[in-house]
């Protein structure tokens, strides 16, 4: 069965060019970059080149790039590192729609005695900038606001956000895991102090991430150990993965503008096709600026997990913010924060496209999805009643 993989916000296929670039670093150039011999020196050089490529993708300086193990580590290192570096300040501002890597730190920080403000979003998932302005105080140590939302693809106006925060002299972190590689991220123009990104969202492998730390930003080290990463993150460098990430960043930079237009074309075709063919569908964040590859929609009267499993039977891979898929009993906190009714949120499905998706695949989904939704609606006790109500 052919696999139609449309879950690229969850993870991406490693680009074969990236794999090719990585392989020698397992078997030939296996040195420790800290070693004083030729094998070590080669590894060190490869790490330096990869750092350069990642810096170019973000338009940053190589010494501002710290390699980590994943996006979650980057988010933890940023938030806890900044708070520890200014222990006198006890207030943090973030949003209600962050990724769990940030969001789930909130109860922990509150337990540690921090005050945390969670900014509101509107029905389209747009940030309330007035709420942001009003929340900043002299006690605010850090503002952490994501660049683009993983579930809905809604992009926050990060330049405006960063300016508001920096005007108050407050440290600003952004989780840009979903933005990097999908839309331009230029850190020479964007006044953020810290930025998290992840390799496996841009066709590098899982297990490698980056924390960008702007020169002069005070951050306590998260992983204490050797002198690696200028003492900001101890631990022997994961050389093959760093090399892979460098290659992925290079490809991403070369293809970004062309690729984002192509993906937006496919996404729009999918979106319009669904709305044309299937009644009672809501597109989440329709009125907001969104990532070109992401379509999140709610199929009313249908439960998301059932929909995903029937799609999966046809080889189509997507994800859902329904309660059942996560093992929790509540639907996605992001959709709830947007005020999407529970009745619709349980039927949410996210299609996220990537480099290897084709137009034929979009057509295949459009051919098969309406039948699956209809089949589940026929089983549902509410669908028929809705029909009766509209007849009456």
């Amino acid at each position: 069965m052919k696999v139609v993989y449309m879950d690229n916000n969850a993870t991406t296929r490693v680009d074969p060019l990236v794999v090719q670039e990585m392989l020698p670093f397992f078997t030939e150039t296996y040195g420790n970059p800290s070693s004083m011999h030729l094998v070590g020196a080669r590894a060190q050089k490869a790490v330096a080149q990869a750092r350069e490529k990642v810096a170019q993708l973000l338009n940053a300086h190589p010494d501002e790039i710290v390699f980590t193990s994943c996006g979650t580590e980057s988010d933890n290192a940023a938030i806890r590192g900044v708070l520890e570096a200014s222990p006198e300040k006890r207030h943090l501002v973030t949003t209600r729609v962050e990724h769990p890597a940030v969001w789930n730190q909130i109860p922990y920080l509150r337990q540690k005695g921090y005050r945390v403000t969670e900014l509101r979003v509107d029905r389209e998932g747009r940030l309330d900038l007035e709420h942001l302005k009003a929340s900043l105080t002299d006690d605010t140590a850090l503002v952490s606001i994501m660049f683009a939302n993983n579930e809905t693809g809604v992009i926050f106006p990060l330049e405006e956000v960063a300016q508001i925060v920096k005007a108050r002299g407050i440290v600003f972190h952004t989780d840009a895991v979903q933005a990097v590689g999908k839309i331009p991220v230029d850190l020479s123009k964007l006044p953020v102090d810290l930025l998290s990104m992840s390799g496996h969202k841009i066709h590098a492998p899982k297990g490698i991430g980056v924390l960008y730390i702007r020169r002069g930003t005070k951050v306590a080290p998260f992983m204490i150990g050797g002198h690696q990463e200028k003492g900001r993150r101890g631990g022997t460098e994961n050389v093959p993965y760093i090399v892979g990430l460098g290659k992925a960043a290079e490809i991403s930079q070369q293809e970004l503008s062309k690729e984002s237009m192509r993906l937006q074309g496919l996404r729009d075709k999918l979106e319009h096709g669904i709305l044309e063919r299937i009644p009672r569908v809501l597109v989440n964040g329709k009125g907001a600026e969104r990532l070109p590859n992401t379509l999140s929609c709610c199929f009313e009267y249908v439960e998301g997990e059932s929909l995903l499993l029937l799609l999966s039977d046809l080889g189509i891979c997507a994800s859902s913010g329904s309660a059942c898929t996560s093992g929790s009993l509540e639907p996605s906190h992001v959709l709830r924060a947007m005020g999407i009714p529970y009745t619709a949120a349980h039927g949410s499905v996210r299609f996220s496209l990537g480099r290897f998706n084709t137009e034929e695949e979009v057509d295949f989904v459009l051919e098969n999805l309406p039948g699956i939704v209809e089949r589940l609606r026929q089983i549902s006790p509410f669908w028929e009643r809705r029909a009766e109500v509209s007849k009456g």
């Binding site: 059932s306 039977d313 329904s322 059942c324 009993l329 529970y342 006790p381 509410f382």
Partner: protein
């Protein structure tokens, strides 16, 4: 990704008895769209009080649809009295088991059955008169108590997995703990009749429950602890922890554990200690 059995996937992909019985003798509606799953069960009962047809409509995940389908298969041809004896565990067993976090789907089936039978008898559902414990998911005290009794639940997390109660805002956690503490005193572990043949799954579950509810608390009183390592046929392998480790009387302890398990689960069990 959930690990669903082939049987669950089969009943999800090809649900049996979907639909409405227009002249149903009993209708049971449970759940709501806001809660994420809902089931309407229709039954047709003949003059001898036998369920001759059952149909359902379900909004929910794969295990909710499969549980509803299994329920209708289980009750068809049974008398009302027989059907009343079907527990949520029977629904789960019919499907070859459900992930614990999805057990509430089997409980939803059981609740719909009770509702449909009450409706057939012209009674109002007792559980509706019972006080509401979980407001987020509309779960009553009686529903929670029934799930605890019938499934031998011991922790609040289990109650949430089985009934959804406490899975929302969390403000009812204390009340659920109170119910658990109260029932723990009054109800012994669900003792099965000795002659009943146990499936492997039932045996393992009972061994686990007996250890959790009866053996572990005793050992913990003395600063020890026990871990169930494996069950292979009738061999139950455990490892002792805390002060029990290397305790000269651990042989005696093992014999005591074996005695208890024989009494509660099956006379054929042999307990072995695994040293790690």
């Amino acid at each position: 990704m959930w690990e669903y059995t082939e049987k669950v996937m089969d009943h999800f992909r090809n649900p049996r008895n979907v639909g409405v019985i227009d002249d149903a003798d009993g209708v049971g509606e449970v759940g709501s769209m806001a809660c994420g799953d809902a089931l309407t069960l229709y039954i047709k009962v003949d003059q001898q009080g036998r369920i001759k047809d059952a149909k359902f409509q379900t909004f929910g995940c794969a295990s909710a649809i499969a549980s509803s389908s299994a329920l209708t298969e289980l009750i068809k041809g049974k008398t009302i009295e027989e059907a009343l004896k079907i527990t949520n565990q029977d629904i789960a067993d019919y499907l070859g088991g459900l992930p614990e976090q999805k057990m509430h789907c089997s409980v939803m089936g059981r609740e719909a059955l009770l509702a449909a039978i009450a409706n057939y008898k012209g009674q109002s559902r007792e559980s509706l008169a019972s006080p509401l414990v979980c407001e987020c998911f509309g779960v009553t005290q009686e529903e929670i108590e029934r799930a605890i009794r019938e499934n031998g639940l011991t922790t609040r997390e289990q109650v949430t997995h089985y009934t959804k109660a406490g899975g929302g805002c969390g403000s009812c956690h204390e009340r659920i703990e109170e119910i658990l503490a109260r029932l723990k005193k009054e109800v012994p572990v669900v003792a099965l009749p000795a002659q009943r043949r146990l499936t492997n799954l039932q045996k393992m579950r009972l061994v686990e429950e007996t250890i959790e509810r009866q053996i572990r608390p005793e050992l913990q009183k003395d600063g020890g602890d026990i871990e169930l390592v494996d069950v292979e046929g009738n061999r139950v392998m455990v490892s002792l922890r805390g002060v029990c480790t290397g305790c000269p009387s651990s042989n005696i302890t093992i014999k005591g554990i074996e005695q208890k398990l024989k009494e509660m689960v099956s006379q054929d069990l042999v307990v072995e200690e695994v040293r790690q």
